[in-house]
Amino acid sequence: MNWSLFWDLTVSGLTLGSVYSLIALGYSMVYGILKLLNFAHGDVYMIGAFVGYFALQGLGGPQNPSVSVWLVVSLMFLAAMLGGGLLGVVIERFAYRPLRDAPRIAPLISALGVSFFLQNAALLVFGASFRDYGTFDLIGGKTYHRGNVFLSVPQILTIVTALLLMIGLTLFVARSKIGKAMRATSFDREAASMMGIDVDRVIASTFFIGSALAGAAGVMFGLVFGQIYHYMGFIAGLKGFTAAVIGGIGSIPGAMLGGLLVGLAESYSTGYLPQGSTFQNLYVFALLILIILIRPSGILGKADVKKV
């Protein structure tokens, strides 16, 4: 057993998995409340990455930041989360809310439309060129290691930030008033409304939080992998969606677990399976099929029980 390779792949999988987990959370939260697959979510993540990039440029750029590096990074996260969150609210207001009582296929098509709109709008506004976060200039290329485990600063930052955000979200949903309203709306929207819960506000808040997490994931991606571009949301969105389904769509811990599993599966298949880097998507989606066959509602999902 080559332990060095194993740990390299594990760190790589956890880093990527952290990004997928944050994206999956948005899918899962929205699905939990509206039973809607928000296919525009991957593109919100892309816009978040761009907002973070422009925040970085506004603060002097990676080579010459006008404030301390950690303040720059924090402000990038803040800007991307705010930008992503607001975009999520706008999408919900104009693309989904008018279709809330329409047949379920209508908002699905609307979601695909919003996805293409955002992708092409980004191409038009930001251009086709790749944008470079310049992480090496901003944070440096220092790598920490203990035995066989190598971790770069952006990797540590990504894993720790994702973990904190996920813990924060779990506490928020479990303990805050709006969190309780979210759970009630998810359980029975009509009953929640009759109990005096402002369902529109709850749904908008859900979109804000889910999209803010996607924005944060966009910045993480830029910091770890360097380059962002208008098309980056497509595959990441699909992987995030896969993670949400594997974990059990609608379940917050499930989305986290699914994201980490997809990240690790991608990494291990690249490292260990035949032609793994070429066919990693084949392996990841095969895993999705396998899990769905064994547990149709996902690992931590609950089967829909209907009174007959």
């Binding site: 790749f130 470079d132 190598f150 991608e266 990494s267 291990y268 690249t270 032609q275 880097s277």
Partner: protein, 393 residues
């Protein structure tokens, strides 16, 4: 009685439908087999006027839009320069989006070729070799000369099926792969090489050619691949043995090459040499000090390159430079064919064949051989000093 009548009506309808299908099929056969359509498009006189139209087939949207932008910037730069000196014979561009690498595959290139208007005299592109293959029947049927600045697959000229119609301003993979393998094997004398293609036709073709030449020379080659759309290379990098002497990445997107190099350094494998192909010959990849790239023998001090850099924020965007030359070829052919105020596409093709450009910005003269390749095209090897590439072989 009623059912018999219904049967008769159904039979008549079926017969009618069968006739319609046969007639439609015959018409289709006639259209595709008859040379008349091609020859009429070929010999149709197009009024040149004071503004002549060149078609451009490039990826404007989709995953490779960044490549299309580099090509478009250079083509537009040529058109602007040309129009400043040819007030009564200006050029304009009719662009078709081939969505290279998109979910629609090469069908988008065919659609883009079909959308070229009747006043288009010659075409720059398509960008990708598979797009060239797919769009060939449409472009040849319309009588176009089509000149690509980036399709390097050796077969698209060597198979002879596009002779007289297709030309390119980049030397083919066969030439580039020879330069690369000779440099790795004979100059650097490396014996352990890791090749990673990006799963696109350009990359796999070049990787195959370099791999077979290195293996024939007794070099140990490990081959891998990664999607062009991927940005996380950490798992792939983890697989590269630490005693590897050079990693060769014949990719098309310089920012991805840069990200790969940075992630190699993050993983503690920065001591392994890294080499890209002409697709990575760009300032972004050059920002990684010590990396190699193969490219045509261009020079940053060429007056056209200097003027371009000045107009584009200091970035030479070298990947698009052959598209500038492709525009020079098509634009020059249109100018010559339009001397009497009218031209046919056949005349433009004949003029493209006669191209003879001296001291182009690619570093060599451009004249085409019988199959449409540059006669005497060559590739050199360059090494980055952290900001720019310098010739080393």
């Amino acid at each position: 009685m009623r059912s018999r009548r219904a049967t008769a009506v159904a039979a008549l309808l079926a017969l009618g439908a069968a006739f319609a299908i046969v007639a439609a099929a015959s018409a289709t056969v006639n259209r595709s087999a008859a040379p008349s359509a091609a020859s009429s498009a070929d010999s149709k006189l197009i009024s040149c006027g004071t503004t002549r139209t060149m078609g451009v087939l490039e990826p404007i949207t989709g995953p490779a839009a960044s490549l299309g932008k580099l090509q478009n910037d250079w083509i537009q730069f040529y058109v602007n320069s040309h129009n400043r000196t040819h007030k009564k014979a200006k050029l304009r561009l009719a662009k078709g989006d081939t969505v290279l690498g998109g979910p629609g595959g090469t069908a988008e290139a065919v659609k883009a070729a079909q959308s070229l208007a009747s006043n288009v005299l010659g075409v720059i592109g398509p960008a990708g070799s598979n797009e060239v293959k797919a769009a060939t029947p449409t472009l040849m049927n319309a009588g176009f000369a089509f000149v690509s600045g980036s399709a390097t697959n050796t077969e698209i000229t060597s198979d002879g099926t596009r002779k007289g119609f297709f030309f390119r301003t980049v030397p083919p993979d066969a030439i580039q792969s020879t330069s690369v393998s000779n440099f790795i094997n004979k100059k650097l004398k490396f014996k352990r090489v890791y090749i990673i293609d990006d799963q696109e036709a350009y990359s796999t073709g070049l990787a195959d050619a370099v791999q077979s030449k290195l293996r024939a020379a007794g070099v140990t080659v490990t081959r891998d691949g990664v999607s062009q759309q991927q940005s996380d290379f950490s798992a792939l990098i983890a697989k590269i043995p630490r005693d590897t002497q050079i990693v060769y990445i014949p990719w098309q997107l310089p920012p991805k090459g840069k990200a790969f190099g940075e992630q190699m350094r993050s993983a503690g494998k920065g001591s392994i040499n890294l080499m890209g192909s002409d697709g990575l010959f760009d300032d972004a990849f050059a920002s990684l000090s010590g990396v190699y790239a193969s490219s045509f023998p261009t020079s940053g001090s060429h007056p056209i390159v200097k003027a371009f850099k000045k107009a584009h924020g200091g970035d030479a965007e070298f990947f698009g430079a052959p598209s500038y030359v492709a525009a020079q070829v098509v634009g020059g052919a249109i100018d010559r064919a339009c001397k009497d105020g009218k031209a046919t596409r056949a005349e433009v093709r004949a003029q493209v064949r006669k191209t003879n450009l001296k001291k182009t910005l690619l570093g060599f003269n451009v004249k085409f051989n019988s199959v449409g390749d540059i006669a005497g095209g060559q590739f050199g090897i360059w090494k980055s000093n952290g900001t720019a590439f310098l010739p080393v072989g």
